[in-house]
């Protein structure tokens, strides 16, 4: 995979994007390039601007400066649903399933952007519309089998246990046939076994479904365990980038997470 990076087009390229909320700069001049089939992570302390960055990619925020390219296409300023239909899918930090809809229906909503039925076609039940409905149903069921929830297809989604809800959220995102999957803290609130299972699941997503994955994560074991590339954000700015090993030893990163290094602190005392 690494050898043809130079020849391939990046899946996502963020070019000096800046997002401000009033006087607060949430994300500043941030660059990021993700190549196909990579698992990239964005880490950083709370409030570093990770989720803001996600929202910029998925269209909920429009960055004031810079441009985002998805497979060579500028997507800055597009609506979230347009970006989704181009092939960017995301999950959310807190689980947001559609209450009142069954597990299967939740996944079927995910297929929405790759369907073309109009209400008129649905009213008249045109043959193409009917075929499309069946294809949607079959696809949703397939995805449920992939995440091992097919048994519970007719349950209300909100009645599932926590771990299953997380997986269902990912399946719903997958249903839109994305090329890039954005996962916002996929292991939040999980115990070590569940975390391990989720890591394997993310690897499987990349390997079996040819996905490129960008994730925000706080659990360092997950980040270091599965990422090909790690980017560290602090106060909206990129402070480090590289493989997990490189980032782990970067003094700037250590400073961001632990505060100023000991010797500097010490020298500061001496200076006083």
């Amino acid at each position: 995979m690494t050898d043809n990076i130079g020849t391939q087009q990046p899946v996502l390229q963020a070019d000096r994007i800046t997002k401000r909320f009033g006087g607060l700069m949430a994300v500043g001049e941030f660059d990021l390039t993700i190549m196909p089939q990579q698992i990239a992570s964005v880490i950083g302390p709370n409030g570093a601007g990770k989720t803001t960055f996600f929202n910029c990619i998925s269209g909920f925020y429009v960055p004031e400066e810079g441009e985002i390219w998805f497979r060579g296409h500028p997507i800055r300023g597009l609506r979230p649903d347009q970006i989704t239909s181009l092939g960017v899918a995301r999950t959310f930090q807190n689980i947001h399933l559609f209450a009142g809809m069954t597990v299967l229906e939740n996944v079927m909503v995910g297929v929405h952007s790759s369907m073309m039925a109009t209400p008129m076609a649905a009213l008249l039940r045109l043959p193409l519309n009917h075929q499309e409905e069946e294809a949607t149903l079959a696809k949703a069921y397939d995805l449920l089998e992939f995440i091992e929830l097919a048994e519970h297809g007719d349950l209300l989604a909100t009645n599932l246990p926590y771990g299953s809800q997380r997986r269902l959220e990912i399946a719903r995102a997958l249903a839109s046939e994305p090329a890039l999957l954005l996962l916002d803290e996929p292991t939040a609130g999980m115990n070590p076994q569940e975390t391990e299972a989720t890591m394997n699941f993310i690897r499987r997503l990349r390997d079996e479904r040819d996905l490129t994955i960008l994730l925000i994560e706080h659990d360092m074991s997950v980040v270091m365990g599965i990422s090909d590339q790690v980017t560290v954000l602090d106060y909206g700015r990129k402070i480090s980038e590289g493989t997990p090993q490189e980032v782990q030893h970067d003094p700037l990163v250590i400073e961001a997470y632990l505060g100023a290094p000991a010797d500097e602190l010490a020298s500061g005392f001496h200076a006083d």
């Binding site: 998925s58 649903d81 209450a99 069954t102 929405h112 790759s114 073309m116 109009t118 075929q131 069921y141």
Partner: protein
């Protein structure tokens, strides 16, 4: 020790006691609205029925706790209900014995109420005996007051349990228990009865009973088939209650016949819905000819009954221009066509052996529902029409509120727009000069306009279809020759992408343009008048009404796109008022508060006889049926899922690729268009419309019926319309309490059944999905 015992005891009977209190309040409410006086011979039965129902529900809830617990609770329930009623009745009794006129506080409670509930004859209950002014004693010969609070076992003062109508009850039983204590005793006994019967039914067939909570009736095969056949049974009842060919009905109900027949009609609709829901795929191991034979037999039987009724009693419902009384041939023809359509549908559907039960119940429900209006008189048909129009409105609002979750309080605006559109186009209201001679139509030129619209719509349809067809072909050819798409996107099916928005616009412009040119040519050559002179304004009005309301739905939708929840409700509320005030104040154009009069029915001008109301009933039924069908289809489609997702969480729906703008406008437009159909039918039914018909109350009523019936549920909306519009209409005398009932019902519903009376079931798609994915593998295995 004793303390703890008491505490344990009260804990044990808590459920029974609390549901008993509710039952008592319900009974009290029935007494207050005057059930004992107005429905004398059903009163006791109705009141006891309440406890029976509560007993049954108690039995279902507490079955697993064991018989002893159940008995204790049911006794507590009966006792609590009895005490609540008793307290109130003793108050009334003490007032009456003091000579206070109770009627001034509770206008439906009189001495008769006391008689019915205590069995003490009315003359002995005389509340205010005359007192000799001289001696201060009771007058000579005045009957003494018998205290109804005394328990007696005497045939003279016994409770009389009557079922039937006032003049001749089918069942008239003297319980030989007198006084309110007797009534209390009966309450307790009936509560116990309900619980025990349920307990027995469950223990008899416990596993099947528990399998499906929503279809608990299907556990017992006899009960199950009883439910499936209920529409037919109710129809038979209606048939017996109505006179045929001028003779007296077989089942003579006397004074209350009209109401009871109408109620039976409502029950027929309701149980039609219940039957269709209770039916589920079962393999009855019947051969195809047998399956088809049974269903076809049912269709033919119902059709023959219908034709008999039409011919025997001149119940025509179609009247082409020269036949003001209606045409027998066309009416019978319509029945035959519907029957044939049902037969053909059955022919194909019954190939699947599991569909037998579903088909049969659908045929029976639908058939009896369609026959029912033939047995109604004018008043009853009118009420049915009103209910049908409200079903239409409810289903439209259900799309906006139930499916898409957009709270719309100004829904009546679209209803008004539909009604006024038809009124403007169709009204035959004259303007008079000073000598009261008609000098022309008030809404001048509308006949001409109708012809023009009709003609133009027709030409647009024809010319537009041709233009778009060729336009699309050209577009596809160009598309094929074009290079790669803008970006490669996988779609589920390999389809050519839709034309871009501007291409679509171009095509539409092309179609409209050509048809306009054609229209001008027709106008200039004078062909218009030859072709379309004298066309009925109804169809044009319907079309125009639907289009006008649909477009105004979009117009309202655009400014409120970004609003949610309360803000949306307020803006739509304002919109509803604006439309009403507009019609009220633009006197020169809308007739102002005087309204629009002389709106034609979809019939010849001189139509008379049953056809005048039957045709409207059937039109409303058709409209409601069509709208229900379309809503059901929309719900299962891509659009429906997008609405549902939007209802649950707009942001997430958008991130799943749902175009919020499109979906919201679609919901507003479709909901409004349905209201437009309702409006046109309303105008055709009323024949005179006024701005006052379209006030906020209508919006609130429609919203309440959607909430009470069940948001997002089509049978729920129908049931809501019957409960909120139909039944109050029948019990006109009780209409003082209508708003009270509304409020009480809403509060109760939101607490007890927040999802409504008949909530929409969750979609059960897993089996079908599994069959789609694995179907081929399993058939090989």
């Amino acid at each position: 020790m004793l303390n703890r015992f008491i505490q344990r005891f009260t804990d044990a009977i808590r459920k029974g006691a609390s549901s008993g209190c509710v039952a008592g309040l319900v009974i009290l409410f029935l007494i207050l609205i005057g059930v004992p006086i107005k429905l004398q011979s059903l009163a006791l039965f109705m009141l006891l029925f309440v406890v029976l129902v509560f007993g049954i529900s108690l039995g279902r809830r507490l079955y697993e706790k064991g018989l002893a617990h159940l008995l204790l609770n049911s006794l507590a329930m009966g006792a609590a209900a009895a005490i609540v009623v008793f307290l109130f009745m003793s108050l009334i009794n003490s007032w009456q014995s003091k000579g206070i006129e109770v009627k001034q506080y509770f206008d439906s409670v009189t001495t008769e109420t006391m008689t019915v509930l205590s069995g003490v004859p009315e003359e002995e209950l005389h509340p205010n005996p005359e007192i000799d002014p001289m001696t201060g004693d009771y007058m000579e010969g005045e009957p003494l007051r018998t205290d109804p609070m005394r328990l007696t076992f005497d045939a003279d003062t016994g409770l009389r349990f009557k079922v039937g109508m006032a003049s001749d009850a089918w069942l008239d039983m003297n319980m030989t228990i007198g006084g309110f204590y007797g009534f209390m005793l009966l309450l307790i006994i009936f509560g116990l009865l309900g619980t025990l019967v349920t307990w027995a039914a469950i223990s008899f067939d416990v596993n099947r009973y528990r399998t499906q909570t929503s279809q608990y009736l299907s556990g017992n095969p006899i009960l199950h088939w009883l439910v499936l056949l209920l529409p037919l049974i109710l129809f038979a009842l209606l048939w017996l209650m109505v006179g045929h060919g001028g003779s007296d009905p077989i089942l003579n109900l006397g004074d209350g016949a009209q109401e009871i027949q109408l109620l039976t009609g409502f029950m027929l609709v309701l149980f039609g819905l219940v039957a269709m829901r209770a039916a589920h795929p079962t393999h009855w191991e019947l051969a195809y000819p047998v399956r088809f034979g049974i269903c076809a037999g049912a269709v033919v039987f119902l059709a023959v009954i219908g034709i008999w009724r039409i011919l025997q009693d001149d119940r025509y419902f179609i009247a082409p221009p020269p036949t003001p009384e209606g045409s027998a041939a066309l009416s019978v023809g319509a029945v035959v066509v519907v029957a044939a359509a049902l037969l053909i549908q059955n022919w194909f559907a019954l190939r699947n052996p599991e569909r037998f039960e579903i088909q049969l119940s659908a045929v029976l429900s639908l058939g009896t529902l369609l026959l029912m209006p033939l047995y109604l008189d004018q008043y009853q048909a009118d009420v049915m029409t009103l209910v049908g129009i409200n079903v239409l409105l409810g289903l439209g609002l259900n799309i906006v509120v139930g499916y898409a979750g957009l709270l719309d309080l100004g829904y009546v605006a679209f209803f008004a727009l539909g009604a006024y559109t038809y009124a403007f186009l169709g009204s035959r209201q004259f303007v008079y000069d000073n000598d009261q001679n008609p000098i022309g139509y008030k809404f001048e030129g509308n006949v001409d306009v109708v012809d023009r619209i009709m003609a133009w719509v027709l030409t647009t349809l024809i010319v537009g279809t041709i233009a778009i067809y060729f336009g699309l072909r050209y577009w596809k050819q160009r598309q094929a020759t074009q290079a790669e798409q803008y970006i490669e996107r996988p779609t589920l099916l390999r389809l050519p992408a839709r034309p871009q928005a501007n291409t679509t616009l171009l095509l539409i412009a092309l179609a409209v343009g050509t048809s306009a040119v054609t229209a001008i040519i027709l106008e200039v050559t004078g062909l218009y008048d030859k072709l379309f002179n004298g066309a009925s304004p109804f169809l044009v009005g319907l079309l125009a009404g639907v289009i006008v309301s649909g477009l105004s739905g979009i117009l309202l939708g655009i400014p409120v796109l970004r609003l949610r929840g309360d803000y949306l409700a307020i803006v739509t509320l304002g919109f509803g008022e604006i439309i009403r005030l507009m019609f009220n104040n633009l006197r020169d154009y809308t007739g102002g508060p005087q309204g629009v009069l002389q709106i034609p029915r979809p019939l010849p001008n001189d139509a008379a006889g049953p056809v005048t109301y039957l045709s409207i009933v059937y039109l409303v039924f058709m409209g409601a049926g069509l709208v229900a069908f379309l809503s059901a289809r929309l719900k299962q489609s891509r659009t429906g899922r997008a609405w549902s997702a939007m209802n649950s969480d707009e942001t997430i729906a958008q991130s799943m690729g749902v175009n919020l703008v499109q979906s919201k406008l679609m919901a507003f437009a479709i909901g409004a268009a349905f209201a437009g159909i309702g409006g046109v039918l309303f105008a055709a039914r009323q024949r005179n419309i006024f701005p006052g018909d379209f006030n906020l109350e209508v919006s609130i009523e429609v919203l309440s019926l959607v909430i009470i019936g069940g948001m997002g549920s089509i049978p729920g909306v129908i049931m809501g319309a019957i409960v909120l519009i139909g039944i109050p209409e029948v019990l006109r005398e009780l209409s003082t309490y209508r708003i009270l009932v509304f409020g009480a019902l809403l509060v109760t519903m939101v607490i007890i059944r927040p999802k409504g009376l008949l909530p929409a079931p969750t979609a059960q798609l897993r089996e079908r999905a599994r069959a789609l994915v694995h179907g081929s593998e399993e058939s090989q295995a």
